[in-house]
Symmetry: C2
Subunit: 352 residues, 2 copies
């Protein structure tokens, strides 16, 4: 399958972002939501920053103090055996040993960037969405954007010690935002909302992470107002001994094609190598899977996809679709944004 | 506080139930949902059965095979170190060691019982709700019943290897049932739906169990059709060093009082001692907590509450409210059903 990566990749890197605090450094700008507004490409970038830490015996964890309205920095001793510092993304609880995290190593917010040519972006200085309440004291992550009629619906993970859920805001102009609250309670992320009603109902893919039984897999839910969701059904499962045997979740907003709804999702192996795959869902009944890619349609191959803050990640949250072309902006190695063009026809032909 | 336990407790025990298969034994009849229908008390009992196992080296796990439509029995070797058999309720994964379960030791279904005097029950022979699909192959558990206008809404945990979620069915006559699908995706249980709209919206308490961060605590959600739910908010947290420091979840359908919505919830300590507590929620805005009980309003004290299939459990899912009186039917030690009368006034006076 042709995957036309842009020669100038990565198109946005941490060097392009000024930290929003002088004592912080930008470690990642990645996983953008994508939309067209006023004939320009809008990216809602996830920016991850961490406190600059010069003492190698220390680990600094940023936490938003929501009544105070500012980030506080917790200093942890790297020799403290109650913590597990081996994952670059999270500080785990070494006492519980159940895989749960105590803190994140960085805090993410959402930043807007705008482009006329889709390659060169003007990046805002001030955050577009910033932590603001008890549910996002560890940050806001991985936005997706679905345009329905006059509104852009923007939804993203909110992370706190109470869990990871998904919040929805809507806007007409990427300026005034209306909060619609948490649409999927913890633990859930990787929501993608379909861009139109299907037989009168809205649909979304979501990815619960249950504790006592079950895997991080893709479910589908329906709604009549985009805020309240129900009739949950399991849609797509992990596949043993394949590239998506560790965790899967929605990626791009589903694309309507003649053959069905085409969803480009992410799948990680048990070794945390993140690829993108495709699944085709019935046009009239999107809880019915018609076909699924055997092999990834995009996988970490280039240096910027292999090496970074978290290695071996391609992670698409949004794209512009023009005819047969999917112009995808995707996160690479939890560090930067890259651009690739994919053919819908090619993808459909590759599915089984 | 006065807690008038019925002298004839427990009122229903496993001996009162005939196993639905000859090769099974009933180990529990407990945690009933409660309603009044045709001037009679209806209990929807959770019945737990397990395959009779005479070989002490073996453990038999019952699993509903949903395409076949019948329960299959998996035989496990008790010396198999990939399993942890120490919890009487579940068989855990001894390789993952993350607390997740592989199988349950019993399979639950829901059985209807009817009474004119509220003490002596005629118990149906055939299950009222039985496992029927991929989401409940390990059973259906802990029903609650909310009556709203003409319908009785019955909702209960569905348990499978894909997780624990909550399904809703509705009925007018406890005979013809309409399925409304899974209203809360895994992992979630202990849903209680308020008995009327509040400022135009329906509300429910629910209890997600997130994996990567967060605790088993009580959240509140809203709906406009009882099927789709959103605007999730954290309502009630665990309390360190108190009787409800391990896990909490909704118990009875909330009771409307002059002071607010009174919710009797269950709380377990880290040592799995299950008590009932109370919380008072604002009449106009039930996501606002007005008061909460410092001490349990009911705790395991009697022999039938202390000793059983799972020791030290009082667990209320339903009650009949008459004036100041809460006539609660509650599960004891995951084994039997007991009856207690509580005074709303007493409970309200005890709250802080």
């Amino acid at each position: 399958m042709k995957t036309n990566r842009y020669k100038g990749n990565p198109i946005i890197t941490p060097k392009d972002i000024k930290p929003h605090r002088e004592d912080f450094e930008v470690i990642g700008v990645f996983n953008p939501g994508v939309a067209i507004y006023n004939d320009e490409v809008i990216l809602l970038l996830r920016v991850a920053e961490r406190p600059i830490c010069k003492n190698k015996e220390e680990f600094k964890a940023p936490v938003f103090n929501f009544p105070k309205g500012e980030i506080e920095i917790l200093t942890l001793n790297i020799n403290d055996e109650s913590y597990d510092f081996t994952d670059s993304r999270v500080i785990k609880d070494n006492i519980k040993k159940d895989g749960s995290f105590k803190y994140l190593t960085s805090i993410s917010y959402i930043l807007k960037a705008t482009s006329k040519d889709g390659k060169n972006f003007r990046i805002d200085e001030k955050p577009f969405i910033y932590p603001s309440n008890q549910y996002d004291v560890f940050g806001v992550e991985d936005p997706r954007i679905t345009k329905i009629e006059d509104y852009y619906y923007i939804y993203f993970s909110v992370v706190s010690s109470k869990g990871v859920g998904v919040r929805l805001v809507k806007t007409k102009d990427f300026n005034v935002k209306e909060d619609c609250g948490i649409i999927f309670a913890p633990e859930n992320k990787d929501v993608v909302i379909f861009p139109e009603r299907i037989n009168g109902k809205y649909y979304a893919l979501h990815r619960p992470v249950p504790k006592c039984a079950g895997n991080p897999e893709i479910w589908i839910a329906e709604s009549d107002n985009l805020i309240y969701w129900g009739n949950h059904k399991l849609l797509l499962e992990l596949r043993e001994n394949m590239w998506d045997n560790g965790r899967i979740g929605g990626g791009l907003v589903p694309i309507k094609t003649e053959k069905g709804w085409l969803e480009l999702y992410h799948g990680a192996s048990k070794n945390n190598r993140y690829c993108m795959g495709a699944v085709l869902l019935d046009l009239e009944n999107p809880s019915k899977v018609l076909a699924r890619s055997e092999k990834p349609i995009l996988e970490p191959q280039e240096d910027y996809e292999i090496n970074g803050f978290f290695n071996n990640v391609v992670f698409g949250c949004g794209a512009i679709v023009e005819g047969d072309l999917i112009k995808m902006y995707y996160g690479v190695a939890d560090t930067s944004v890259a651009y690739v063009e994919l053919s819908i026809k090619d993808i459909l032909n590759s599915l089984r």
